[in-house]
Symmetry: C2
Subunit: 199 residues, 2 copies
């Protein structure tokens, strides 16, 4: 088989992700992507069909990496620590860069309104909720060695509800990051939720 792709798809995905993250899905044009990747507009259309398909591909990859990171953050045995680590991870992700780049999934959720794109965002949030719920169930059932912290860490609401609340809060933090641009404040608000949730 001849007629072979000239560009490095991995690098393209990486660079295009940067553009989408910085400018947002809507505000990013195929022209921007061509400029950032060095691949001609025509080639992008030929290879991917258009912005929606290209973004979906890139976002799915990003979401998988993000969820892997979230899973790592949730590994602590103490639910308070696990939740704190998760929020720290999310906050670090959205406050990276100068100016900070914000939350790609939140921004996309709010502005997209294209079926494939919306579905991808929803899948990511479902995945996040699932992982938080799993962690909360695991640490709450506490069949392993009972640490004194465990007793103080009883959930004030059922784990599934708590997980949804945590996911909702990550979205809220993403919006507040845009409005106030203050990482410390985000951490404080996250800490408040953790306190209210574990009692």
């Amino acid at each position: 088989m001849a007629g072979v792709r000239q560009f490095d798809e991995g690098a393209l995905v990486e660079q295009a992700l940067g553009v989408f993250w910085e400018k947002g899905y809507r505000a990013t044009s195929m022209l921007d992507l061509a400029a950032a990747t060095g691949v001609q507009r025509g080639s992008l259309y030929h290879a991917y069909g258009g912005k929606e398909q290209l973004f979906t591909k890139i976002f799915s990859q990003f979401a998988a990496e993000f969820l892997a990171g979230a899973e790592r953050a949730l590994e602590a045995d103490d639910p308070r620590q696990a939740l704190t680590d998760l929020f720290d991870y999310c906050i670090a992700s959205i406050t990276t860069g100068t100016p900070s780049r914000g939350c790609l999934s939140t921004r996309t959720a709010v502005e997209a309104a294209e079926p494939q794109v919306d579905a991808a965002v929803q899948a990511m949030l479902d995945g996040l909720e699932e992982r938080v719920a799993t962690m909360l169930t695991r640490t709450a059932s506490a069949s392993s060695s009972a640490r004194s912290a465990r007793a103080r860490s009883a959930l004030s609401v059922p784990p599934r509800d708590a997980a949804r609340l945590v996911v909702a809060m990550t979205r809220g933090l993403a919006v507040l990051e845009r409005v106030y641009g203050d990482p410390a404040r985000l951490r404080e608000t996250a800490a408040t939720l953790v306190t209210a949730l574990l009692r």
Copy 2:
């Protein structure tokens, strides 16, 4: 003084707000506004300068009305009731219309990046936080007739922190409305927060 404005500014503000709410700040063009209001594009530029100024004017008016409604929702003596009423009010606001129009301020916060616009959104959130904090302080200090519900309604975190958390949650709900489009689910998540907050 001659040379008098031909259009009804009140009606224009109302109609333009509808367009901004439906399409979002960025996606709304002066052309859209002209079509929706019946006022020529040139006249809009002449009267307001441009989209940013026009939006700022409209949004400030909207924010004042929204905050007045929030204040009414927060009037209940029982903090649990007041918070529930507030969330119901917010959820009703963003799930109105078919398809539901979402949250104007959240969408604007996430996509805007223009100084005047961002400042207006921030002012609204500050106002909301202030009103929630006032309510929580009022109902917590409870110098009036002690109802049995009052005892159960102790805040699990300081009122100021709780207020910030509540505001953050309203933003989170706005994002989730876009993703899942399910009012009942939003109410459930809000109820979970209220439960975690009042113990």
